[in-house]
């Protein structure tokens, strides 16, 4: 098991995939080792961008040119051979070569596969050899551009899939003025992250924002119509390669979508249909190269393929400990671990799994979810603390076991998300006051100091360490104004913030004196 972790021979490192994981690895690697030959292939022609922010682009909160990750000049300046818009077509592990779509053959010492995922297109009639015009997946910046283009010409959209991405797309389109319906197979939205109660509150919130939800609804077909000759069918495209899409009876390129048919026979019209039915790890290359692939490329804690230690895999195409990590935080952690191992900056670096926290990026819908959120009160070992105010769109729940957070939902108001994510990330013991987990500011809130109720020992002026008792003594010796007290005790002569308190005490003492004894 003691495989050398540095790159083999003189061929250096070749990275396949320039998305969130691949581009991160390249920059992390260069930071640690300025010399090792580094080549990166990216199937998409543009500079790498932050996929997490695509929903913001869709919603209009960011422009496509504002989500770039790596400066175009960076590659040349850092001696990285970037092959953008070039797909890798084959890996020859015996010869340690990668073949690319431009006819090139590139040798490697270490191969890093970071091909990510592709959108899953359900095998239903209408998805054919390619999607009809107006039916789109939401995965890449290109997809995003096409959706925006289509959104500009229609008033009605259907989103198939009520998971994270589907809801973000739906919310973005609703914000652009479209009437949007989300069709979802399960009994509540985001069922993998939310319990039914939270799903219901989320649906209610979305409805207020113009997004309607159809639950337990199965799409049986996309309904299409032929595109008249000469019309621009620019919206149509083949979903990314390596796809499970099958040809249907009709539809496909050359046709245009008009809506979706449900298994109940009902028809939901829409000139824009977004298929947000999840993603599948893009493992075709790895599988063809004979690497062990389950759902993703199976790797060990050094991110090595269990089949071939000179091949590493990170991000959504890899699988560690039975889990495919579909979020960016673990992908970046893997990138850093791998860079440490390959550069030799930390030989002990290991990826041993990560905790996943889901955040919805949708305007006016604050949502954070993590861990096991489905628990009710059935398990005596598990403590559930929750609060719901559906009318205001608020739903909060924390699930606790052994004084550790094992799951949480914050919907509508996420003021404690920073605290919860850190407690969850670190599996740290929880604050004794459970309320502070749900509501910000209740823990240790400032108590306003009433000068009247203070004990004599209480410090009024911290800058000069003057107690209420000293001010009282000073008053008893004849000082009748705050200025006189300041002159004798120095109270309020530092930062000045206790001036009101000093005046309050003097005033109160004056009043006590004036009041009739009794």
């Amino acid at each position: 098991m003691t495989q050398p972790s540095g790159s083999q021979g003189n061929e250096g490192i070749v990275v396949v995939g320039n998305g969130m994981a691949g581009s991160r690895f390249v920059t992390e690697m260069r930071e640690r080792d300025p010399r090792v030959p580094l080549t990166v292939f990216g199937a998409e022609p543009q500079q790498p961008y932050n996929r997490v922010l695509l929903s913001n682009v869709l919603a209009g909160a960011a422009r496509p040119d504002q989500i770039g990750l790596v400066d175009p000049a960076w590659y040349a300046a850092h001696d990285v051979d970037a092959r953008l818009g070039v797909e890798v077509t084959r890996i020859d592990r015996r010869a340690r070569l990668v073949y690319s779509g431009d006819g090139g053959v590139t040798p490697y010492g270490t191969l890093v596969i970071a091909t990510g995922s592709t959108a899953f297109v359900p095998p239903i009639p209408g998805t054919g050899d390619g999607l009809p015009a107006g039916a789109l997946v939401f995965r890449t910046l290109d997809d995003c551009r096409r959706i925006l283009e289509a959104a500009g010409t229609t008033g009605r959209a259907v989103v198939v899939g009520g998971g994270l991405l589907g809801i973000e797309a739906a919310r973005g389109l609703a914000g652009r003025g479209l009437a949007v319906t989300v069709v979802h197979l399960a009994g509540h939205l985001m069922e993998r992250q939310l319990d039914p109660g939270a799903g219901r509150v989320l649906a209610r919130t979305l409805a207020r924002l113009g997004v309607h939800t159809r639950l337990e609804a199965q799409v049986s077909a996309l309904r299409t119509e032929p595109v008249p000759q000469g019309d621009d069918v620019g919206g149509a495209r083949t979903p990314s390669q390596g796809q499970a899409a099958r040809s249907g009876a009709d539809g496909g390129p050359g046709a245009r979508v008009t809506g979706v048919e449900l298994a109940t026979g009902e028809f939901l019209p829409g000139d824009l249909v977004i298929l947000a039915c999840g993603v599948r790890p893009d493992v075709a290359l790895a599988r063809e190269a004979g690497l062990a692939v389950d759902r993703g490329i199976v790797v060990d804690e050094m991110l090595r393929s269990v089949t071939d230690p000179s091949v590493r895999a990170i991000g959504e195409c890899s699988q560690y400990g039975g889990t495919v990590y579909g979020l960016v935080a673990p992908a970046w952690e893997q990138a850093a671990v791998l860079a440490d191992l390959l550069a030799g900056t930390d030989e002990a670096a290991r990826f041993t799994g990560a905790r996943q926290i889901t955040r919805l990026k949708a305007a006016s819908v604050e949502l954070a979810a993590m861990g096991e959120t489905q628990h009710g009160d059935e398990d005596p070992e598990v403590e559930v603390v929750q609060f719901a105010d559906p009318a205001r769109g608020t739903y909060k729940k924390v699930v606790i076991k052994d004084d550790r957070l094992i799951g949480a939902i914050l919907l509508g108001e996420t003021g404690t998300a920073g605290m919860l994510t850190q407690l969850y990330d670190r599996a740290a013991p929880l604050p004794s006051d459970r309320l502070s987990l749900l509501f910000p500011g209740v823990n240790g809130a400032a108590v306003s100091d009433s000068p009247v109720r203070m004990p004599d020992a209480a410090t009024v002026c911290h800058c000069n360490n003057v107690s209420k008792g000293q001010i009282r003594a000073c008053w008893e010796q004849g000082a009748r104004t705050a200025e006189e007290v300041a002159a004798r005790t120095r109270a309020s002569t530092g930062c000045g913030s206790c001036r009101d308190a000093v005046e309050g005490i003097v005033c109160w003492l004056d009043e006590q004196e004036a009041a009739p004894a009794g």
Binding site: Q66, I67, A329, G418, A428, G444, C495, G496
Partner: protein
Amino acid sequence: MAVSEHLRADGPAGAPATADTPTHCPYCALQCGMTVGGGPVRVAPREDVPANRGGLCQKGWTAAELLTVPDRLTTPLMRAHLGAPLEPCGWDEALDRIAAEIGRLQARHGRDVIGVFGGGGLTNEKAYQLGKFARIALRTSQIDYNGRFCMSSAAAALNRAFGLDRGLPGPITDVARADAVMLVGGNVAETMPPFMRHVTEMRERGGALIVVDPRRTATARQADLHLQTTPGTDLALANGMLYLAVEEGLLDETFIAERTGGFEAVRRSVNTYWPDRVERITGVPVPQLREAVRLLGRGVRSLILTARGAEQHARGTDTVTAFINLALALGLPGREGGGYGCLTGQGNGQGGREHGQKADQLPGYRRIDDPAARAHVAAVWGVDPQIIPGPGRSAYELLDALGTDDGPRALLLFGSNPVVSAPRADRIEERLNALDLLVVSDFVLSETARRADVVLPTMQWAEESGTLTNLEGRVLRRRRAVPAPAGVRSDLEILAALAGRLGAPGTWSTEPAEVFDELRAASAGGPADYSGITYQRIEKEGGVFWPCPAEDHPGTPRPFLDRFHTPDGRARFIPVEHGRGAAEGIDEDYPVYLTTGRVLAHYQSGAQTRRIGPLVEASPEPFAEMHPDLADRLGVTDGMDVRVTSRRGTVVVRARLVESIRHDTVFIPFHWAGEGRANLLTNPALDPTSRMPEFKVCAVRVEPHEPNGADQ
């Protein structure tokens, strides 16, 4: 002990009566105006100094007591041989011994065998003369100072972004007129209380105070918005705020286009700092991040100020850069009343970093490796530029090298107490003990002086004159108000006497005014140009802002209004990354963050304030502040002694339970020696640019302390 009895017998019985002299407080960089006089000597605040406008904190009010501390040194002390006790001796005997040892060591090991360590509390004149002494009397490259432990990260970041390191971008009165002030890692309500008067005035005018601090400090309690960050995550916070500034449309595109360069790379770099990622790193809720950006971005005059909490990190320079990037993106700098600034800590923290006691620097903030700078300064000094050595080691590296094979074997130390103030202090103590010769100039027997071979009794604030440059960049006069006790000499006298014995070239005046005139000439044409500043002008004008290149030049209160001091006049955006955060993260063995800082009643290593009765009464001992929940899990109750252990050492302090601190963090103030010496724990991981140690975060374990050793 024999020494202190002797000192008490010979010490001053009480300073004589004098007229009131206008001068400034001996402590922090605010340099509050005060008068000193009367018999017995008293201080009173001055109304005519903008920094304090009639206010003083308890340290200032009790400053006169420093003049009569019972253990004042009034005679040199020396050890007859290694291991012998410190015994009183004559000045000639002490100085002859020092000169002879220097000669012997340099003849055998070369010039760099002598190290010099200065301080940010020294006047400009003393700091200047100390640098000159090292370079042309000792001809050693091995000089640095404790300012490295103070604001060096902000200095490095300012130089690289604006081309000039002047702490505040304008007069302190701009604070009161600001629309918003964001204070990052500064607890001014305790460390420089009169500063809060300006903040309070701002808030009364409708401005907002934003405080970034892991603790809900006295300052944070007065804030409109408190961002309670995880220690070591300020950089991510700043990048996340810049991300939000883009999203919220708060960029000042015109300013960015006309006055800056490099924005695109920074904009791209902050694309990885989207709000919920930053929330997860920092623990600060997204709505608070957003509110903070809006408060800063919507104001016309907003200030972002950093202090040690943001700067004392192994990524301190990058952290400050992240806040400068934010300020630039919002268009704050280069505008009257707004911008980025650093709240310098030590009394002459600003001036002390400009005139040559820094390892890589010559007077006027010139670089020691710049041939033109060397030629200019050599001409003022009357020497061949060739004899000026090159850059030396930075403060921690210098202290860490003491007594090692290629490090200095002798150290001359002025105005610092590194046994208490340096990180990983027991290592530094060990290095000091390994020296052939340690010479300390101080007015009391500090913890470091106790380890010296020769101790030279020097004058203190109200006994000497000179200039200090406060946090605004305003050059002020420190004036002699009382005579020094018999037997005490000024640092200028000490340096002149040693220079004479060493046969040094050049002139060695003991008159501060003459040394200042030489400093003016040496700084002329440099970034920190003092050539137009005179004692008379300072007195007449209430201080002069540098740069001031001519006597008819008004000085420069706001140096960036027209252009930045970079070659093309534009401020530079520089992309910076959070990376993995703090050099030492928490783990199973060391599960709690430690952060260190100051309390109101004490100053720096406490060598001065721990000798003042009322201050000791206000704050008698070190403590570990922790949340009751953390304490509960550890079996600790309020007031119990706890052992706090890091990878470098252990301290024992009393627990103080407060709800104002994060659950994962303990705070220990660093003013004390002995078993509560916080710097036994701190991490000397250094910033790659500023060489600042990571004082502000390391990982520790906290346990109840059982003095009988039952827990060992």
